[in-house]
Symmetry: C2
């Protein structure tokens, strides 16, 4: 028997979740010596990703939405990199690194059938290419791919245009900004602290501002002298209302997230939507998991950018699986600086 700490979804919150109430840490055990059936294998979690959309999964199971609700009193799930520590599968061999939707616990037994269902894939590149494993749940994982898909499948970005990115220092935003910059756009971002803003400038944003201490409309007018052609929307609410006034004709809104709304018991309303017509704006939502066909190209392009030092990636690391609830709360409250990950174990 080994210790198997689990992160449990324990109660549906109405506003911000509370650690120890809505999300709890449970100590349990796992039998590493139990024999495996054919096709079965045991995964040990190396790194896990806490992401804003998880707040939407912390809901009553009767409410429908794009991602399934967490099961009450069960371990939460999310993107992880795990290592195969025992195997009777020919697809997942001992020592393989496995990326995909995984349970938030230290050990987990699964099998080929379930692995296929959840789209788990072997991703052994970080063993040899020098890229940190945590990058595989960030810049090379779901958030990085969200930036890529948003820009290319939704945003129709073109060199010479101006893009504005909210929550720009985050897991998605910093990738979106640097790819857009490499593509020849003028890139402007906002974030919630001066440290984050300094980071944005350091990684090549043409302009950045702290939306908590400066006036968004004023700063956008100053930093986007030719107006905004593309808005990478991570925030929603009042931010969206202001950006609508500064979008150009034929502007696009890459509707990626609205994190300012996730912990409100009632969402804010947004004015000025007539501008969508007056300026022929395309305001389009997307969910990254609907674009699996984009993954090979995304991985190729962004891995090369990393290896050639054409892109940087800021991460916040929490150490130990028991820190997961706080790490998620940090993301929801903006305390993370860069992609928030939880380091669970070394390979």
């Amino acid at each position: 028997m080994v210790a198997n700490t689990q992160v449990i979804f324990s109660k549906v919150p109405t506003t911000y979740p509370v650690v120890g109430e809505h999300i709890t840490v449970k100590k349990s055990e796992f039998d590493l010596d139990a024999p495996l059936a054919d096709g079965e294998f045991v995964l040990k979690t190396l790194v896990l990703s806490v992401d804003p959309y998880m707040r939407g999964r912390m809901r009553d199971a009767s409410t429908k939405s794009y991602s399934p609700p967490f099961a009450l009193n069960e371990p939460m799930t999310g993107h992880t990199v795990k290592e195969v520590v025992k195997s009777k599968s020919s697809n997942f061999k001992e020592g393989d690194f496995v990326y995909g939707m995984g349970t938030f616990e230290e050990y987990f037994k699964t099998n080929d059938h379930v692995a296929k269902l959840y789209g788990l894939v072997v991703r052994n590149d970080p063993k040899t290419n020098g890229i940190p494993i945590s990058n595989y749940v960030g810049i090379l994982g779901m958030p990085g791919m969200t930036a890529y898909v948003g820009l290319y499948k939704i945003g129709e970005i073109k060199a010479g245009e101006t893009i504005y990115i909210s929550a720009a220092s985050g897991a998605v935003g910093q990738v979106a900004g640097q790819i857009a910059k490499a593509q020849g756009l003028r890139v402007v971002g906002s974030a919630g602290s001066d440290e984050k803003v300094a980071h944005l400038k350091a990684i090549g944003f043409d302009g950045a501002f702290n939306y908590k201490t400066e006036d968004t409309a004023t700063k956008l007018a100053e930093l986007c002298p030719k107006g905004i052609d593309v808005y990478f929307e991570n925030v929603g609410g009042k931010m969206l209302e202001v950006v609508l006034t500064q979008l150009n004709k034929f502007g696009r809104i890459i509707a990626c997230g609205m994190i300012s709304q996730y912990n409100l018991s009632e969402g804010e309303k947004v004015g000025g939507l007539m501008q969508i017509i007056a300026k022929s704006i395309k305001f389009q939502g997307f969910i990254v998991s609907d674009f699996p066909e984009a993954e090979p190209e995304f991985l190729k392009v962004v891995t090369e950018m990393i290896l050639n030092k054409k892109i940087q990636y800021q991460e916040s690391h929490a150490e130990g699986i028991e820190k997961t609830p706080e790490a998620l709360l940090d993301v929801l409250k903006g305390k993370n600086f860069g992609k928030q990950v939880v380091d669970v174990a070394k390979p």
Copy 2:
């Protein structure tokens, strides 16, 4: 000298314009006997179109928007069919019918240069094809083309889908509904009177309801059992908020107009925008005049539909140019039944 009644934009309104205050009728004269220079010609207005967007042009000239402001104390302009009554132009000959942006007055002298600038075109088909001239500012004019462009360039309509159209009995809506029906969609519409609703059913809508006397959410759920794939948005405000809750995944909003907002001193805010992301909705605005390349196909397709009695078109006729201000107010207040036109003179 002949009488030349003009419709004058006389004051900027803050809510609904008032006839005699913001729009006034002016009696003036026109010298039909004055000699013409080369390239000049005189137009007599046959029919003119009053349209919702004109409310947006009744603004202070300093405010920018997609269509130019009306000039204060000058005749309003809009889509007209006029007849050439005198000409020294080789492009516009005596007796020709001319379609395009024209002044709201009985007579108007212009020239080849100005005609080109404003995109005036000779449209003599109604002399021989039996289609009423008024149709050329409605189903075969700007509103009909708006329906066509909205459905095909923005809405990505597909047979088997469900489309919901607000202000469905109007100039644009009734064309959109019948074309969508011909294309194999389930078509549902709403309008503001029982007479209009009966008309929608008579012209082939699968479902229709009076949004003033029935609950929109309830009726949409009932009439769109498979949800809404495409929303042809003419109204905005609360209607939009309700429709968002019933749109399907990958739904599209053809953002054509938001007439419920045009006469409010402050626009309404709209909630539930997170659904744009959760359901991967594309909410796209457009202005029909940005799609001139679609006109030949539109004219061909819809003229054939009319001649083959595959489409019907309801119009409200006001008689006499002096009725123009009331006719525009009727449109803004929903008193028009079908496309509102003003008959000014017979050819």
